[in-house]
């Protein structure tokens, strides 16, 4: 459990960090370290250099940007859980973040680190996808914004190019929507076998719009388009919702692993999507 040797730098500016990362493709970014350190200790990663973003100003904190809430990449899970802006406008994110690991991890781990690690078993990527978040990125070529639908490319792989740093996540405010994150894990601190991030908008007792993101149902987080379509216009009632949720796994290609086989994951996704939507819809 001793990591291999590596260089460690703690640049003071974003430009400096980008410079180091652009010059060395085997360098790794350190945010909260809750994913990177285990990889290092298992010697599953052997970066030449670890670039600690912790000293760079402006990467941490939550800001109101009108139609969006901007969450700095180095904002810790603990801060997300307790932030009033997030509570007011992006409650689904706070609720899902509350289920991440344990308090120690939530005090260290960051939203940016969790997104950039892009573990499909992580709770936050599915939320970002369901909420159609945007990922703000700075690299050698300047700044750009990547929509969530394009950010998660493959298992542990994002659209971040070499030398690019994720600086913030912009989350559209879904005021007036209701939501629920349903996590199914074997122990309190274990990864989700399946997680469902659901948000619905109701008008006059009907669901007019729904968003569903699935955790650990493929190599990337999955947007459950079929369920979203099936929900449109249905009564916000349990029977109708559970019927709509029967297509929850249509877009998924879940893995079979130690914690669950694919057929069971598909079944769980259907059951849990129904429950998440029903909870979100208050039915």
């Amino acid at each position: 459990m001793i990591p291999p040797r590596f260089d460690y730098t703690r640049p003071a500016t974003l430009a400096e960090a980008v410079g180091i990362l652009a010059a060395d493709e085997d360098a790794k970014v350190l945010a909260g370290g809750q994913s990177l350190l285990p990889l290092l200790r298992f010697r599953l990663a052997s970066p030449t250099s670890v670039v600690d973003l912790g000293a760079i100003a402006g990467l941490r904190g939550v800001a109101d940007e009108g139609g969006h809430v901007r969450v700095g990449a180095l904002t810790t899970h603990y801060e997300v859980v307790n932030d009033p802006l997030i509570a007011a406008h992006c409650g689904l994110l706070a609720q899902a973040t509350r289920t991440v690991a344990d308090p120690a991890v939530r005090h260290r781990g960051t939203i940016g680190g969790s997104m950039a690690h892009a573990d499909p078993a992580g709770d936050l990527p599915a939320v970002a996808l369901a909420l159609a978040a945007e990922f703000l990125v700075t690299g050698p070529g300047g700044d750009r914004s990547v929509p969530a639908a394009e950010f998660f490319v493959d298992y542990l792989t994002t659209a971040l190019e070499p030398g690019e740093v994720l600086t913030a996540i912009r989350i559209p405010k879904l005021d007036g929507w209701s939501f629920h994150y349903e996590k199914f894990s074997r122990t309190a601190q274990a990864w989700a076998i399946v997680g469902v991030a659901a948000a619905v908008r109701r008008v006059n007792g009907d669901i007019t719009e729904a968003r569903v993101g699935l955790t650990n149902m493929g190599t990337t987080p999955v947007r459950a388009d079929s369920v979203e379509s099936a929900c449109r216009g249905i009564p916000a009632q349990a029977d109708a919702i559970h019927e709509a949720a029967r297509s929850a796994d249509a877009e998924a290609d879940p893995p079979s692993d130690l914690s669950a086989q694919a057929d069971y994951r598909r079944h769980l996704a259907r059951v849990l999507t129904g429950r998440a939507l029903a909870r979100a819809a208050g039915s």
Partner: protein
């Protein structure tokens, strides 16, 4: 003798005196020991389950910075000996050689094949990648039944078989019991493989001192280890001192003589410098011995009224690749416990020990007894279902009645005392048994997708290992006695030396409570010393819930001898006859007079000064005792568990858990409570969470805590605990042992509850651990078609 009015310490929830240093870590954990010039060892381990070693090249590692030496198994072939098995359970048992570092062949993934020694742990870890080992793969042997088939691939080619032993036992006329039975229930249960996972990893430090050696190890058994190190390496026993400093849990996993301990000793000798090794957590999961892993074929025969006629048990026990210290003895410890608390006419048992290319199994909390208890308590519920009888009623009709004690069971054990009626009555009351049964009926009738299940476990276990003559008759290599010495110091303080070796149990507190009462000295004035073969030269260490039962008895006897000696000196001091003295609260008084008295502290000082002692009295006030118990002790209890099972997702939630244990006289109720809670957590873990899984090639895939799911407090319910007290009659304290009770009782209680919840769905068993997926498959009948090798 038990508590007296002058005995305020015994039975008190005294806060543990060792906890401040244990909880803050400001103590001598083995890994905290830093010796000048110490070298760090790291082991190159086989990535294959079974292979011939065709070459080991560590020349590149020797070139790396900080690396001092590297060795292969061949480099130690002449001196490393074979790791010991102290329990050859049959005369014809197959006991293959077990070199600490493999020389020609590896037989489980993780087996050490080479080591590097460096000036720091980082350099040692880095150098592992530079050691090149060539392997010629051999077939992995993973399935016990396949391993016993004709023509099976062999773990040990020389042995010609994968069968290590066959151990049979028959009592009564089993055929008659089954032939005439109204009901016979037959089941196969699987005890999954478990990883003990003590909080402190294994660690060892060894320092050469001229021709002798001091070896610190995170072990439960410093005394046994010293003997075995001498026998394995040929280093004279008097030249080896073993110290178990503070040790952070064991659960049986540190009841072992490990390859790393032997090699630390040999490396220190070879290099002439101190060496140190601490396992990583994944290394520990892979190579610290595992527990359980049995296939149990069980049949029970009964009359229509529920009276049990007979029980048949056939076990396959996975030994893993080698026989370690008590590997084959573990299932045999269970052999006598399958009948549990029940009367019956006949019993047959057989156990076949099977070699596979996996980490050896060995003692794990309960060691044989959880397996036995699981089988009998599970099949009792199935029998009750078959008979249409309440599972508690079936138990009442068969258990040994309170007035029948002492009772010799069909397996030949004599249970000294017990009160199953009282424990069960109390548990039923605390649990609200009939209310929960009524709720269960309602939910079944309503077709509630979340079903309620009620699990029963009325267990007993044998503790206080053990009478040496019994161990001898079971072919165990050592005795079961324990030693203590008690010395009053000149200042009136007390040192207690115990041969048991605490690794978290709280012996320092419990022993102090006993001594404080026996000698009438303040609790704070007592220091308990243990775990160092030079400080505590005689001992048999800690396992099998034996410390208080056997070691505590030795402390009592040594205290009584101290008081006897003090009485003689006090009589001399007070110019009275010994028989006229009474001793209470630490003071000797002449009975019925107002004459001056002498405190035991004053007597101690007088014994130290020795100016005026009785004729032929030796100076100093101390004594010792070695106790070999007459018999085992038999804690028992009734555990009731209510679960809610979500039939849509398969999730099980424990709604309530009641444990009423009878562990005899209580020395410290807080320690008992802690043992019960921890035991329940580990037993529940087997029922619902933990399983060591090997893939089809023989690699352990549950090698981290992300994959091997240890439940935390967040996953466990509030426990409702209570006790009945039926003192043991086999020791003067009346204690029975509590270290394993919770683990033994809870696994069947939980699984019985899960199965009970699912009976309306036709479910009669869910393999352990009862994961949500397994429950879902049991409910729906959807087949598992991609199962990993078990």
């Amino acid at each position: 003798m038990t508590t007296t009015p002058e005995a305020p310490n015994l039975g008190r929830a005294q806060a543990r005196k060792e906890d401040a240093r244990l909880l803050t870590g400001r103590t001598n954990w083995t890994d905290n020991i830093r010796l000048p010039g110490a070298l760090h060892v790291a082991f190159v381990r086989s990535p294959l389950a079974h292979a011939r070693i065709t070459g080991v090249d560590y020349s590149a590692a020797l070139e790396l910075p900080g690396v001092v030496a590297a060795f292969s198994g061949a480099d130690f072939a002449d001196e490393q000996g074979s790791l010991p098995c102290a329990w050859p359970v049959t005369e014809d048992i197959v006991t293959p050689a077990h070199p600490p570092m493999a020389v020609d062949e590896v037989r489980y993934a993780g087996e050490a094949v080479a080591c590097v020694v460096a000036r720091d742990a980082q350099s040692a870890a880095d150098a592992l990648e530079a050691v090149d080992v060539d392997y010629e793969p051999l077939p992995a042997v993973l399935d016990m039944e396949a391993a016993l088939a004709d023509g099976a691939d062999l773990v040990h080619a020389d042995a010609g078989t994968n069968r290590s032993f066959l151990w049979p036992l028959t009592e009564g006329d089993v055929d008659a019991a089954f032939d005439g039975a109204d009901v016979v229930v037959t089941r196969r249960y699987r005890q999954q493989r478990l990883i003990p996972a003590a909080m402190e990893p294994r660690a060892v430090v060894c320092r050469p001192e001229g021709d002798s050696f001091t070896l610190w190890s995170a072990t439960q058994i410093p005394h046994v280890l010293r003997v075995m190190l001498a026998m394995t390496t040929g280093i004279p026993e008097q030249d080896i001192r073993v110290i178990a400093p503070d040790v952070g849990g064991g659960f049986g996993s540190k009841l072992q003589v490990t390859a790393e301990e032997v090699l630390a000793l040999l490396l220190a000798r070879r290099l002439g410098l101190p060496v140190k090794w601490t396992e990583t957590r994944s290394e520990g999961f892979q190579t610290t011995h595992h527990g359980r892993d049995q296939i149990q074929d069980v049949s029970i025969a009964a009359d229509a009224d529920g009276r049990i006629r007979g029980l048949k048990v056939d076990l396959l026990a996975d030994m893993g690749a080698y026989l370690m210290l008590v590997t084959p003895g573990v299932p045999i410890l269970g052999a006598l416990m399958f009948p549990g608390i029940y009367k019956m006419d006949a019993y047959s048992f057989s156990c076949t020990g099977v070699f596979t290319t996996k980490m050896p199994t060995d003692a794990y909390r309960g060691a044989g007894r959880p397996e036995a208890t699981y089988a009998i308590e599970r099949i009792m519920n199935e029998l009750a279902d078959e008979l249409g009888m309440d599972p508690l009623e079936l138990r009442r009709r068969n258990w040994i009645a309170h007035e029948e004690f002492p009772y010799t069971t069909i397996a030949g054990l004599t249970y000294d005392s017990g009160n199953y009626e009282a424990a069960t009555e109390r548990a039923v009351e605390l649990f609200g048994y009939s209310e929960l049964r009524a709720e269960q009926e309602r939910r079944r009738a309503a077709g509630d997708p979340v079903q309620l299940g009620i699990g029963v476990s009325t267990f007993t276990e044998m503790c206080g290992l053990a009478p040496s003559r019994v161990l001898g008759s079971l072919r165990y290599g050592a005795g079961g006695w324990e030693h203590a010495s008690v010395r009053m110091l000149p200042t009136g303080k007390v040192e207690v030396v115990t041969g048991s070796s605490a690794h978290g149990q709280g012996h320092e507190t419990a022993w102090s409570q006993i001594v404080a009462d026996r000698l009438g000295v303040p609790f704070e004035d007592i220091r308990v010393l243990h775990g160092d073969t030079q400080v505590a030269p005689r001992g048999m260490d800690t396992y099998g819930s034996r410390s208080l039962v056997v070691g505590g008895t030795a402390v009592v006897r040594a205290c009584d001898r101290v008081v006897d000696k003090a009485r003689a000196i006090a009589a001399h001091m007070l110019e009275a006859a010994e028989e006229d003295l009474e001793f209470s609260g630490g003071v000797f008084r002449v009975r019925g007079t107002e004459r001056p008295s002498a405190t035991i502290q004053e007597v101690s000082l007088a014994a130290f000064a020795a100016h005026d002692l009785p004729e032929e009295m030796e100076a100093s006030l101390d004594s010792e005792a070695t106790v070999d118990p007459d018999d085992f002790s038999y804690p028992h209890g009734t555990h009731l568990c209510a679960v809610e099972v979500d039939t849509e997702t398969g999730r099980t939630r424990i709604r309530s858990y009641v444990a009423v244990d009878d562990v005899g006289t209580i020395v410290n109720p807080m320690i008992v409570e802690g043992q019960v809670h921890g035991g329940l957590a580990q037993g529940i873990a087997q029922a619902l969470y933990e399983e060591a899984v090997y893939d089809t090639e023989g690699n352990l895939v549950t090698s981290t805590m992300a994959d091997y799911l240890l439940p935390s407090a967040a996953d466990l319910p509030d426990f409702t605990t209570d006790r009945t007290v039926t003192p043991s009659t086999t020791n003067p304290l009346g204690v029975k042992g509590v270290g394993e009770a919770g683990t033994i009782a809870s696994t069947p209680a939980v699984v019985n509850a899960v199965v009970d919840a699912l009976r309306p769905y036709g479910v009669r068993d869910v393999p352990m651990p009862c994961t949500p997926e397994r429950v879902w498959r049991a409910v729906t009948g959807v087949q598992d078609n991609e199962g990993a090798a078990q």
